[in-house]
Amino acid sequence: MTMQVEVDESKCIAAGQCVLSAPEVFDQRDEDGIVVLLEQRPGAELHEVVREAAGLCPAAAIRLAELVEG
């Protein structure tokens, strides 16, 4: 299964919760703290922390799609 991560910069409020949960996948811009996506398709070992990050995001700015590739 492949996980695809999307972030909505227009909703991001720069809380940094995603960076605390999954620093391998998310970062923040230095100047305004807006989310930077480092890994659009993180490996399976990161799926749990990415789901945690999406659940914690106080702006619902992280969306996950789990794709079954044929």
């Binding site: 409020i13 720069a14 940094g16 923040q28 305004d32 659940g55 914690l56 106080p58």
Partner: protein, 397 residues
């Protein structure tokens, strides 16, 4: 456990439901919400929605397909009316009863009201849309309460060209939350943006046509917004035997009774990190506590060691005018504040808060958000004040 009931269909309830499914709960999951809409985000109501920058659809916390995948039995537009913990039954306002094996209470808060008729509140999407349609150039808005919500609404209204009078009972707005000196700095932003600020005045009535002060003066306004804090929605739990004291009282695992957990704005729990009971009305806490409550509910007592205490570092943000305010930690009851970066007068600074011998929290205004993360880490590790804060930092309160 085959039936779990979540009462409350906002951020905490959603986080709980998602976590239950992620942790493998595949039984019946019922979610009750008293509003006709569910799973929408509230912080933008006093920001982008009031400013007409966003349409309501952007508030959705999840796309419909994600909600569908949770397999919820969703009961919206009906409030919970009673709880029988011994019989493990919740009664709804329409008379129906729901049995559960596990219950998560996430019924949130509602705005505190003042005497008078016709004033606005700002808690629900409906509230925000009604107020939004009545703001604009040439309109005069009176806001009662210069806390974070009232301040955000005042800032938006000024941005829309409305005349704003902001009435606050305390001598310095937000002093109880962030300290007097920082409160003064935030207050100055209102003055700089042309708000008519009246502090230290008691309001006896807030109605459709204005605000009546204790000394008899009437402040005229086209619209009045009352933003004087919130009341936890716990009335439906009266007589249940659960402990209610400004919220549903929970232990450090978010448990209120066997099989009953609390989450979000409504829940008061003992935060072991700070070793104090707290009830936090912040957006991030709703999600964190919904997750924690769900995880602990799924751990049977026999596996007590698998339960985890809920020990978060609280976080909040507020957007007012051109300022972003962010804070980590528990600032209430602090003993001392020191500016550790920037300066207050420029409204660009980081302030550290001491409670006892520890760094209790940090608040930043106008700083890059990443600059605060090291302070969060220090709060989370219960850093000693003497180690976290340079002795050269300027003490301001």
């Amino acid at each position: 456990m085959s039936r779990i009931l979540v009462v409350g269909a906002s951020a905490a309830g959603l986080a709980a439901a998602e976590t239950l499914r992620r942790e493998g709960f595949d039984g019946e999951l019922t979610l009750v919400g008293d509003e006709p809409h569910a799973f929408y985000d509230r912080p933008p109501l006093s920001k982008q929605i009031l400013a007409s920058q966003w349409e309501p659809g952007k508030l959705a916390l999840r796309p419909p397909a994600d909600l569908e995948a949770l397999g919820l039995d969703l009961r919206l537009g009906v409030a919970a009316a009673g709880l029988d913990p011994a019989g493990r039954t919740v009664r709804l306002a329409d008379g129906s009863e729901l049995r559960y094996d596990g219950l998560i209470v996430a019924t949130g808060v509602r705005p505190r009201r003042l005497p008078g008729e016709g004033a606005h509140a700002l808690r629900t999407l409906g509230d925000a849309l009604v107020l939004r349609d009545r703001l604009g150039r040439g309109r005069r808005l009176a806001v009662v309460g210069a806390g974070f919500l009232g301040s955000e609404a005042a800032a938006v209204a000024r941005g829309l060209g409305a005349e704003v009078v902001l009435v606050e009972p305390a001598p310095v707005p937000l002093a109880h939350a962030v300290g007097t000196e920082v409160g003064r700095v935030l207050t100055q932003a209102h003055l700089d943006h042309g708000v008519d600020l009246r502090t230290g005045v008691a309001v006896v009535e807030a109605g459709g046509g204005g605000v009546r002060l204790a000394d008899g003066e009437l402040i005229d306004a086209d619209e009045v917004l009352v933003a004087v804090g919130s009341v936890p929605n716990t009335e439906w739990l009266a007589g249940s035997g659960l402990t209610l004291a400004d919220g549903l009282v929970c232990d450090e695992y978010c448990a209120a009774a066997p099989g009953v957990y609390g989450a979000g704005d409504v829940a008061r729990w003992h935060n072991p990190l700070f070793d104090v009971p707290m009830r936090i009305e912040h957006r991030t806490n709703a999600a964190e506590m919904g997750m924690a409550a769900a995880r602990n509910l799924l751990r049977p007592d026999a596996e007590a060691e698998a339960r985890r205490p809920f020990a978060p570092v609280p976080y909040f943000w507020s957007d007012q005018y051109d300022m972003k305010i962010q804070a980590y930690g528990y600032l209430r009851g602090h003993d001392e504040i020191a500016v550790v970066d920037g300066d207050l007068s420029g409204r660009r600074f980081v302030a550290a808060y001491r409670t006892g011998d520890h760094l209790a929290g940090a608040l930043a205004v106008g700083m890059p958000p990443k600059a605060l993360l090291s302070w969060r880490r220090a709060v989370a590790s219960r850093a000693a004040w003497s180690e976290a804060v340079p002795s050269t930092a300027s003490v301001v309160g």
